[in-house]
């Protein structure tokens, strides 16, 4: 216990000896962690949007604005009579708008003061009827019904979106991985530099009978301190950014966790970085 506190004190005094440079290093690392956190949030948002849409849209029948509730009901029944249709769900134009707002963010649509979306029926097809040709056939039939303004092959648009989301996920992962590798490099460099700066001191400690771990422990402590300090900064920044981009709305929990996890992530990278640094240096 006493020995550990000795090491922590050594580590802290090393950090404070060059507080300026060390703060800058922490700042650089936190920029990287911040980017990782917001990329994760963005990828998550996009993917949950895609999966929501993929579920929702089998086939969408847009209804003429002129239809009253009665005719809508009749039309719904008629549609559900088709053999391939499992069920049809009425989506009012208001519901459609609020869905869109949820996906794109309230603020993005602030410019609109009129709802341009139509009422619609969301149609789920029975299993075995979701092949493109079949869907096209059903769509053609539905289009001919009274009161239908248009039919949309939802899955096509979903395909476009899913395609974009896949690309973005790929790109985001590549970015995340490069950043992680970069951060580990920076951390292990920082520790290595501290190590080299003290290499003279370390040689002397060895001559006085210090064991390898007596020498290494302060550097491991430093790595963790660096990493988690940067993580804390990044957490604050990414939470702030997410809040700001969401125009002040609290984020849903599945988007918030990356902004917290980044602290632990930073600490973990710190351990990895310093282990790499002190492990590779022959004592």
């Amino acid at each position: 216990m006493r020995i550990l506190s000795f090491h922590i004190r050594t580590a802290l005094s090393n950090m404070f000896r060059n507080i300026g440079i060390n703060l800058l290093t922490i700042f650089s690392i936190s920029v990287g962690l911040f980017l990782i956190a917001i990329t994760t949030v963005t990828v998550n948002t996009l993917n949950s949007a895609v999966s929501e849409w993929t579920e929702g849209f089998g086939l969408v029948v847009y209804l003429m604005d002129s239809l009253d509730d009665e005719s809508i009901k009749a039309l719904k029944a008629e549609v559900e009579n088709e053999p391939e249709v499992k069920d049809a769900r009425f989506i009012s134009r208001e519901t459609a708008m609020s869905r869109l707002k949820k996906v794109l963010g309230e603020a993005t649509l602030d410019g609109l003061d009129e709802n341009p979306l139509p009422n619609s029926l969301e149609i789920s097809l029975r299993q075995g009827n979701v092949q493109p040709e079949k869907v096209r056939e059903v769509a053609a039939r539905l289009k001919r019904l009274e009161g239908v303004e248009g039919v949309q092959f939802g899955e096509k648009w979903v395909g476009v979106l899913a395609n974009a989301a896949r690309r973005f996920t790929l790109f985001g992962s590549a970015l995340g991985i490069s950043l992680t590798v970069g951060i580990i490099f920076i951390l292990s460099n920082t520790i290595k530099v501290l190590f080299y700066r003290r290499s003279n001191e370390i040689k002397i400690l060895k001559l006085l009978g210090a064991t390898s771990w007596f020498i290494r422990i302060p550097f491991l402590v430093e790595g963790v301190l660096f990493g988690s300090a940067a993580g804390l900064l990044a957490s604050g920044a990414s939470y702030g950014a997410a809040y700001w981009l969401g125009s002040g709305h609290a984020l849903p929990p599945n988007l918030v966790w990356p902004t917290h996890a980044v602290i632990l992530f930073g600490g973990a990278l710190g351990i990895i970085g310093s282990l790499l640094a002190v492990g590779r240096i022959r004592l």
Partner: protein, 216 residues
Amino acid sequence: MIKFDNVVKYYDGQPALNNVSFHLEKGEMAFLTGPSGSGKTTLLRLIYRDEVAESGRIIIADWDLLKLTGASIPYLRRNVGVVFQDFKLLPERTVRENVELTLRIQGVPSEEARERVTSTLKLVGLRHKSDALPTQLSGGEQQRVVIARAVIGNPAVLLADEPTGNLDPETSKEIMDVFKAVHAKGATVFIATHDPALFEHSGCRVFRLNHGGISS
């Protein structure tokens, strides 16, 4: 206590030590002399395993240095106090911290360490410089800090390499008294020096190195 058997050490293809054999008894005090570059420092470095011999046998207390594993080197070194010719002080630590380091490494509790540092610094006449950094000391003062750091751990073996090169004759005498006190407590003391005044009339054995060979 210190036994060399036909020890050979090469640097860059040139022999720095050539077939050196000698034996110091436990508790003996002896001197090592010879011209500049004759291998005195090299011989001492072999004792605390800072260098490894090419051939021959070196026994220090119970350790056979040619069979020593890397993991036990620290424990050998804790038993060998060294006054380095080039001091090797930590420049960013105070005099007190430098001297205390020997004890910290050995795990001595901090209160005990504190007291022992104070009395050892008094011994070498540097109590008033406890909180100075090495760069704030004169050459002779730095040399005395090194001496304090070497003797504080009560090592079984004390090696001193030119320990009075930066000291005036009077301070030199005081430092020799410190070494004699350590010797009186049972340590084996081995001092490398150019200064004949240190070993003349001392009654101790004097080993002479020349071109890598030893004679006594």
